[in-house]
Symmetry: C2
Subunit: 550 residues, 2 copies
């Protein structure tokens, strides 16, 4: 038996586009004499469809695609496709998250997802009823256990999230092959974890596993692909590439059953490289899927905007990224020089538009209303907002998308100006801590100096008042990032962080800044998610509250 | 037996503040010789605590408050308090959403919530394990069925959301009284629905019901209170006031059992009045809980900003609302005159700061970069952004919060400027359609002309280019709002809306505008929720997608 995996990049709600892409994969499968072709979770509508699932029209469109795909496959190939299906009973949620097994042009069997992730960025119980009945389907003499994503993730930990293990239930029925359709979003720890989970299932239940993931970015969520074929001994037969579409076929007898073979295309899985690639994919897909070609960004001479610039050039092409240098009276000379050096290395167009003249007019007009109050954060924010206005004006006039350059450390503590440097269509780095940003820059510079060294060695500064340094307002990033990691990623409270050896006052100060600035993060652009816990839909906190704030 | 209901306004995560408030209620209960005092759902930590629930430290703080409350109550009164509790088993989510029954200073019984709303603004399965076991607790000869919020809402519809009805399970054990602790957010349809649901439970199971809700706004969610006591015949014994704290006591034998009595304090429940009161409550609580006193807003001469102005004055006091008039070269003379007339009626301070001079400098500086492209939406947006900059500068300098004046019709179709008129700390009207805005204004003017009539009669205009009217870019609000209501509130797809008699092309145009502008709504301030389906956390849609967009 020959089984194919179609690791594809879908567009949410684009039923025609997704159908055409899947049709082409089926035709490839037929040409390759494959018996069975697997797609990923909710492939017909793209993942995550979110509240579109609440529209009958949307669900009907999904069913239409299923019927059209069945017709394409006909009796030439069997396929397993992910799509929502209607709960036929009156009780519970109206939908299941289903895998449709289609043979001879007909839906012969459906497996509904049993474990519905409802944490972090996942909201599946918002839409779906969990499956409680488990069955196999027989295909060409083999019994298939078909599962959807999370169903294989409850692998017997000491504190399982669910009360049932679907694979254990299916294993009782003695299947020959475990199949999993996934839409499993990337974070820099996920690839290793995923292979480990697949291996636990393979070895615990003595089953070969065919795991088909999707690929590509859906706004903030980035799907890395990395689909897996593993034998029953837990040996990796193949791992598909990350961040690109791929269709491959496997002969069950010769590759999976019996014979030992290990994969030789070991991919570089260092977090830094993965974050770099994910961000490039995230930018590229955001523009492609929205139908935009060109980006604009403000280049400050600092490390964050330099990194966004390089990533944007890699995603969109050097001619498609316009950078704008907007010095003020507080800007150092090196902020322009360093940026120009970077641009020389990249070969991208730029503009220089100083902000002093506009600032002076604002200042003249607003001063009479300021009642002789001294220069403060107001004037700092005003500079950032003038820059935001320039960038948005050019973006509006020419149809560019503005890339936001806020990093995760700043986003965490609210070190940024709403409607100023927090503007943009996409926040590229707001899930990357400042200390990680240097690591990605060094990775970019590993063979040649693309980002000028001076950008990486000078002290970070917002340059919004004379001689300003980030360290005037914030703890050193080395310490700050460690405390933030404990609080945000590891969910450690103040007492637990103190036990790790950090100073109590410092913890109080940092946690208070994080909680008080929820209102700013509420208004940020979507943030490309590369960590296990990003700001955005995966982290939901009250804006008005008083926890750890006093 | 005397039972009290404490309908209180909690602050999320403010354990000391909430404890002091509950302690004071318990002392009132003791003074009133009450036997039992009820609080609302998750009262010790405030509702919704969201991801704070993921911190052990937060859960421990909740437990501390429970112990302190138990000590206050001692053997003088029994209390039922809402708080999270730890799931003692290893399986499933780590927490329950619980009602603690405390008697003689000890936790004698706990009822865990069985139905976990996970739709619209609710995310409870994100945090909680659903209860599956049902028991009563006996207190002074009466058997109490204690439930939490949603547990009483599955009242035998034809398409129930859940597979179990907790009240039916409890009814099998023959209770004497049904108790419900709620945190049920307001929308203009909710009050009537709530009484209906309580009545169905009372009559179906022949039980008196004590229903205790919380009150006050938690950022976007507004809790209206309206706690209810009902007898087993479904007759309303009392309904507590809306939008204010209230503690009342009821003698079981004389008020609820036996004797018929109906409530005489029938509150005005017209949607318009409720929306008005909810918005005033929402503004007031947002400022109070953040520790701010003063608001600023831009007054354009249009109906939206006029309404926000009146609501803000009612919430914060006339001296605490600064309005800024910012005419441009495209502003009509009546835009300033009408605003001044409104301010005269209200007696609030204002400033006039024209934007032309700043606009001209921007224009001069940007023109060389615009490659002779004509005046377009860029220049319109720039004007809105200059106004945003003025408002934010004054807000920063004096510590005001900027009120956003976007209405729901504009928010739906993206008729607004990001970082311009979409700025603000709180979006007061973004859940109120334009046609509803006129209704609320007329309600305000019912006794005297507070909002000048001309503001209510002139054609809506953004005044960003000569002679501009909203109707140049948008369908008439009468039609637009009806289609939006079907799509947004009623979840009707294009085919279903067409069957209601609307023009197919118009529907396509409107739905496309709604879907394409998800990116703008992603960056709006929190929106006070007054409808059953508001933009914000209750409506989650992809930013990048292609559904109904082509």
């Amino acid at each position: 038996m020959k089984i194919g995996l179609a690791q594809l990049n879908y567009m949410i709600g684009d039923f025609n586009g997704n159908f055409e892409k899947m049709k082409s994969a089926i035709e490839k499968g037929i040409a390759a004499n494959a018996d069975l072709l697997l797609f990923s979770e909710l492939s017909v509508c793209g993942y995550p469809p979110r509240d579109f699932l609440e529209f009958h029209h949307f669900i009907n469109e999904c069913e239409n695609v299923i019927h059209k795909l069945a017709a394409v496959a006909g009796n030439k190939i069997a396929i397993i496709v992910g799509a929502p299906s209607k709960n036929p009973t009156k009780h519970g949620k109206d939908l299941y998250n289903s895998a449709y097994f289609i043979e001879d042009g007909k839906v012969k069997f459906m497996a509904h997802k049993a474990l519905l992730p409802t944490y972090d960025v996942f909201d599946e119980y918002r839409y779906f009823e969990p499956n409680k009945e488990f069955n196999l389907v027989e295909f060409k003499g083999k019994k298939l256990a078909i599962t959807v994503c999370e169903d294989i993730w409850d692998t017997g930990e000491t504190n399982p999230l669910y009360r049932i293990n679907p694979v254990a239930e299916l294993a009782k029925l003695q299947p020959d092959i475990l199949i999993n359709l996934s839409a499993s979003p990337f974070n820099y720890k996920q690839a290793a974890k995923r292979i480990d989970v697949i291996r636990r299932n393979a070895t615990q239940f003595n089953l070969p596993v065919f795991y088909c993931n999707c690929v590509g970015a859906q706004t903030e969520l980035i799907f890395d692909g990395g689909s897996v074929v593993m034998n029953a001994l837990g040996e990796l037969i193949d791992e598909m590439p990350y961040f690109e579409e791929c269709i491959r076929f496997y002969d069950l007898a010769s590759t999976v059953e019996g014979r030992r073979s290990t994969v030789d295309n070991q991919q570089d899985k260092s977090p830094t490289k993965l974050i770099h690639d994910a961000l490039v994919c995230g930018i590229q897909n955001y523009f492609q899927k929205l139908g935009f070609k060109k980006a604009i960004l403000g280049l400050s001479g600092g490390v964050d905007s330099a990194l966004v610039m390089v990533l944007a050039v890699r995603a969109l092409g050097k001619e498609n990224v316009l950078s704008v240098l907007m010095p003020s009276q507080f800007s150092t000379s090196h902020s322009v020089d360093d940026s120009l050096k970077l641009l020389e290395n990249l070969g991208s167009p730029h503009k220089i538009i100083p902000i002093k003249e506009v600032f002076d007019v604002y200042d003249k007009i607003l001063q009479p209303h300021f009642e002789n109050k001294p220069f403060d954060v107001t004037e700092e924010n005003l500079q950032a907002r003038i820059r935001g206005n320039y960038l948005m004006a050019l973006s509006n006039k020419f149809g560019y998308i503005l890339l936001n350059t806020t990093n995760k450390s700043e986003a965490a503590v609210g070190y940024g100006t709403l409607y100023g440097d927090m503007c943009g269509g996409l926040a590229v780095l707001a899930d990357v801590y400042k200390t990680q940003i240097y690591e990605v820059c060094n990775y970019i510079n590993k063979d040649e100096e693309i980002i000028p060294t001076h950008i990486l060695t000078k002290a970070p500064s917002a340059e919004l008042r004379p001689g300003q340094k980030d360290s005037d307002s914030l703890p050193d990033y080395d310490v700050l990032d460690k405390v933030l990691l404990e609080y945000i990623e590891h969910h450690q409270g103040p007492d637990e962080i103190e036990q790790l050896g950090f100073d109590e006052k410092l913890i109080t100060r940092i946690l208070r800044m994080v909680n008080r600035n929820e209102f700013k993060r509420h208004q940020t652009p979507p943030i490309l998610r590369v960590s296990p816990k990003a700001f955005g839909s995966g982290r939901r906190l009250p804006i008005v509250g008083k926890y750890l704030e006093s």
